[in-house]
């Protein structure tokens, strides 16, 4: 599939070493459109939207931001720890603004599922339905995320 220059810029920004060490595409050979479309269809089959997921991740992110080197237990079920680092992260989709450099780790204590994400992930999921490519450091399959956070 031929890319227009705008799309090519996005793909270039997703490569390893540009905005993050390993990039956003992992070992995925699919086209960016396919990655997004496949995940979108997966969400549809699970009766969830990208907004549902992003909003829920935002909820946990917000609840854990005030902690000082400590986790928080939410609803007796979710253990959430937020680690913040100096600096800001840019969106590979060329959206304006910057995102906090943070990693949020959630353990669903009941189901024993652990996932992690960054504020940039929330943005990319909400605005682009982009969960990163398979094999990427911060990619979790949508069904795993849904199982963990709902």
């Amino acid at each position: 599939m031929k890319l227009d220059p705008f799309e090519q810029k996005i793909i270039d920004k997703m490569q390893p070493g540009v905005l993050s060490l390993s990039g956003f595409l992992g070992k995925d050979n699919r086209h960016l459109h396919e990655i997004i479309e496949d995940d979108f269809n997966k969400l549809k089959s699970l009766n969830k939207t990208q907004e549902d997921i992003a909003d829920r991740l935002s909820f946990f992110t917000d609840k854990s931001k005030d902690m000082i080197e400590d986790y928080i237990i939410i609803d007796d079920k979710y253990q959430v720890f937020q680690e913040v680092y100096r600096g800001l992260v840019l969106c590979p989709f060329n959206h304006k603004g910057t995102f906090k450099k943070a990693i949020i780790k959630l353990i669903n204590i009941e189901k024993n599922i652990e996932i992690q994400w960054t504020p940039l992930n929330i943005h990319m999921i909400k605005e682009h339905c982009f969960f990163e490519g398979k094999g990427s450091h911060y990619r979790f399959e949508p069904e795993i995320i849904i199982n963990a956070i709902f």
Binding site: K65, I68, E69, D70, V84, R86, L88, K96, K100
Partner: protein, 366 residues
């Protein structure tokens, strides 16, 4: 055969003509000649027109902060334009509020220099320099925190305030083909003008910190730019509270070294937050300040000590302990370094303890 040859020759001639026309067009229409940049109505630099303002200033050793390397996606490189600069571009508008637009604030990376231009920048930016430096010491403080000492080569002298930070340039390596710059607080004493130390925590998937923790060696030559930031000690006799965990200890270490060197008699307390014992570092070093400074107390607090940590110190949430160390809230300054969330939460607690909001200073990570 002759027809084919004739067609080839025609194509070559047309291509040549087009190339010559393009060269001429660029020469006459894209050649802006020499342009003058006037800064704060006092400094003038002459540059070749055509490039962007951010780069032109950097080439003339005036460094405007930027988080995206001039790609127009962070909004940090703002300058106030007094004259020239052309019209405001659509690429700039998302980063400027109404008041800034009214004030003719612009993104310097988006201004193409086509004519003389006059700008205003904060005076402290004139103190920012680009340094060539040699790494002379790397210390492993914890499993994910290193202290790195740099000897300045060119220039070999720096002036900074305890609390400020530098931009460290990581060269291209392994997966990362291009250099990147990241900010780290200076952790050494300002009176040491030819070396600086940075405390650097490894960020998972971080380009610069992976280079620091896995590739950087003593003897390497690097570039540093700075100093930046407005987090510094206020020159008063007020009591002081410091609150910072992890690599947030860096600016506090610099401040304490400065205060110690200047024999400060101020009452000071440093609350250092960590999760477990393995996250503690420079503990003995801080305890030395308890002997050398007239009135300093170091209070490490673990949020989740492990069973085998054998921890008999304080546990839990830092703000619950502050009131035990307060002498006179109205005459206390607080210096915080950490995440925006932590700073907001702690600030709220400090205000509830009657520490004046205007005496709470912070260095926020984001």
């Amino acid at each position: 055969m002759i027809i084919i040859l004739w067609n080839v020759v025609t194509v070559v001639i047309i291509s040549l003509i087009l190339t010559i026309l393009l060269i001429l067009a660029e020469y006459f229409f894209a050649n802006y000649g020499d342009c003058k940049i006037t800064i704060n109505n006092k400094k003038e630099i002459i540059v070749k027109g055509g490039g962007n303002l951010l780069s032109a200033l950097a080439e003339n050793k005036v460094f405007i902060p930027s988080a995206c390397g001039g790609r127009g996606s962070c909004g940090f490189c703002k300058v106030k334009v007094l004259d020239g600069g052309g019209p405001l571009l659509p690429t700039e508008k998302p980063y400027l509020n109404d008041s800034e637009i009214k004030d003719n604030v612009r993104l310097s990376c988006q201004i193409k220099i086509r004519q003389d231009i006059s700008i205003n920048i904060p005076e402290e930016l004139f103190n920012i320099k680009k340094f060539k430096a040699k790494i002379i010491e790397i210390i492993n403080y914890t499993y994910d925190i290193k202290g790195v000492t740099f000897k300045l080569i060119e220039p070999d002298y720096i002036e900074f305030k305890a609390g400020q930070y530098m931009q460290l340039e990581a060269p291209g390596y392994a997966k990362s083909k291009q250099s990147v710059s990241r900010a780290y607080s200076i952790s050494s004493i300002p009176e040491q003008h030819n070396t600086i130390q940075l405390i650097i925590r490894k960020v998972p998937e971080g380009i610069c910190t992976t280079w620091v923790h896995e590739y950087m060696k003593e003897g390497d030559i690097v570039n540093l730019t700075g100093p930046f930031g407005d987090f510094y000690i206020r020159d008063t006799d007020a009591d002081m509270i410091f609150i910072a965990g992890g690599s947030g200890k860096a600016p506090i270490k610099s401040m304490l070294e400065y205060l110690d060197n200047n024999k400060s008699k101020r009452k000071m307390t440093y609350f250092f937050g960590a999760r477990t014992k393995k996250d503690l570092y420079l503990t003995e070093y801080m305890q030395e300040f308890e002997k050398s400074l007239e009135d300093f107390t170091y209070v490490p607090i673990l949020s989740a000590p492990e069973d085998n940590d054998d921890w008999s110190g304080k546990k839990g949430y830092i703000p619950t302990y502050i009131k035990d160390y307060l002498r006179d809230s109205a005459n206390t300054e607080a210096y915080l370094c950490g995440s925006p969330g932590m700073i907001a939460a702690v600030e709220k607690e400090l205000i509830a303890l009657k520490i004046p909001k205007e005496k709470i200073y912070y260095d926020s990570f984001g």
